[in-house]
């Protein structure tokens, strides 16, 4: 499941920003990938739909890196497996 989440997060960011998924590392900062706040909420919308989770506004504001997103989604999906 963890691997699924990692792949989904990276692929959705790559698709949204037209990036090669291989250049998106877990420790990459969202700002360095060129994500604006509108990009971030759009990507989060896709992830919420995919994993049927709800990310709070407070959590969204704290996300800085790809790793943060993966951890956040993993936390919300734990127990759903």
């Amino acid at each position: 499941m963890r691997q699924n989440i990692e792949n989904a997060v990276i692929n959705i960011i790559a698709k949204h920003k037209k990036l090669d998924p291989s250049v998106i590392t877990n420790d990459a900062l969202l700002v360095d990938l060129g994500l604006t706040s509108l990009d971030a909420i759009t990507i989060m919308y896709d992830l919420e739909e995919k994993f049927d989770v709800e990310v709070t506004d407070e959590t969204l504001l704290e996300l800085r890196s790809v790793h943060d997103i993966i951890e956040g989604i993993a936390g919300l999906t734990s127990g759903k497996e």
């Binding site: 909420i41 759009t42 919308y45 709800e54």
Partner: protein
């Protein structure tokens, strides 16, 4: 002295084609763009006829990266604004400080309805984050400004079927006041969404077959879609840069019936027409051609004819009056822009587009409606009427440019 304002660029997308040349060619041939409705669940719709843009593929105009931000009404607005700006020969630096006014009656209905479908019907609990920025009524104005690099006054005007004419009037005022030298005016609407068609069905003004303005057997309006755009600039600015000039936008007149929400008032319409003539310093006897609002509804066509008699008196019998909605349908907020393009080209080319689908004159419709065949005729001055639900009226007066 009031500044003269020139029309220097045109753009169109409609059921009559994807550009101005196709639009004008169809109008001159009296070809109608009204066809059976497609891409809709027909079994649950009473309305079968419409004026849809044919063979439209958004990827011909926009990239995959751009499209998620563009409702159809924004796409049409950008396509026509771009065509008009290229037609006017304006470079990026020359439109940087320009104004852009976009008239729309509906806004981003496709976007709104997609969101509502998911929420109400599919039981989703969240809306897509782009629902607001893509669907807001000002989205088309925003997107034209972003795509074309227009950073002067940019805003939307909404007055239903008179939106584009009111937008043109605001742009005219801005140029006359000296606020801007150049303004791009767009009228745009993309009303072919299930909910909106159902809403129009509810009003019982849509024709089951076609649009026959001023005819005895007229059966209502036919919804259309698309956009029209014009570039306006001060005559001084246009001359200084050696721009091709189509015609002069000589004046505008606006009024509100302050009466009924749907029934038109001939007095309100007449006041707007008279105001446009006064603003343009035109005498009724100067006007050769009227591009009518001419929706093909029972109420409009009689009321509009009465208004023309009221303003033009004995000269009304000399007027050529055509209802081009018989060809491009009624694209709501775009109508006034497409009709302004038609009127400007009628003046420029000396050809009056006809009222297509005309059978025999309806009761109370006793003018020369240029039935079915375009007419070669030199036009010195013309007016274009737009009358919206709620009695919001906007009329534009256009004059041939001497030596143009």
């Amino acid at each position: 002295m009031v500044k003269s304002v020139a029309v220097t660029g045109l753009g169109c997308i409609s059921a009559l084609g994807h550009d101005v040349n196709q639009f004008w060619g169809a109008l001159c041939n009296g070809e109608t763009g009204i066809r059976p409705l497609t891409n809709m669940p027909l079994e649950s719709l009473k309305i079968k006829a419409c004026a849809q843009i044919q063979n439209y593929n958004s990827l011909h105009f926009f990239s995959n990266e751009e499209l998620p931000y563009l409702d159809k009404f924004s796409q049409y607005a950008i396509i026509t604004a771009r065509e008009a700006i290229v037609d006017a020969g304006l470079e990026a630096a020359e439109i940087h400080n320009a104004a852009c006014v976009v008239g729309t009656g509906c806004g981003g209905k496709e976007t709104d309805e997609e969101a509502y479908q998911k929420l109400y019907k599919e039981g989703k609990t969240r809306a897509h984050p782009l629902t607001i920025p893509k669907g807001m009524p000002s989205a088309a104005a925003v997107q034209v400004s972003m795509h074309m690099g227009i950073s002067g006054p940019v805003f939307s005007v909404a007055s239903a079927c008179a939106s584009a004419a009111h937008a043109t009037a605001s742009a005219l005022a801005m140029i006359r006041s000296g606020l801007v030298e150049v303004a791009i005016v767009v009228g745009t609407d993309a009303p072919f969404t299930y909910g909106l068609i159902k809403a129009w069905e509810g009003l019982r003004v849509l024709s089951p077959d076609t649009c026959r303005p001023f005819s005895k057997n007229r059966s209502g309006m036919v919804l259309g879609e698309g956009a029209g755009a014009v570039v306006l600039e001060s005559l001084e600015h246009a001359k200084k840069r050696g721009a091709p000039i189509y015609a002069e936008l000589a004046g505008c007149g606006m009024s509100a019936d302050a009466g009924h929400i749907t029934d038109p008032s001939s007095d309100g319409a007449a006041r707007a027409i008279k105001a446009a003539l006064d603003d343009a310093s035109m005498n009724p006897g100067d006007v050769d051609y009227v591009n009518a609002h001419g929706t093909g509804t029972k109420a409009n066509d009689v009321s509009e004819t009465q208004a023309l008699h009221q303003v033009f008196g004995g000269h009304a019998a000399q007027l050529m009056v055509s209802g081009t909605k018989s060809m491009h349908g009624h694209p709501l907020g775009a109508a006034g822009a497409l009709e302004l393009v038609a009127t400007v080209l009628a003046i420029k080319n000396g050809i009056v587009p006809p009222t297509a689908n005309f059978t025999e004159a309806g009761e109370g419709c006793d003018l020369d409606y240029v039935p079915n065949q375009a007419r070669e005729k030199r036009i010195k001055s013309a007016v274009s009427n737009s009358f919206a639900f709620g009695g919001l009226n906007a009329v534009l007066a256009i004059r041939a440019m001497d030596g143009a």
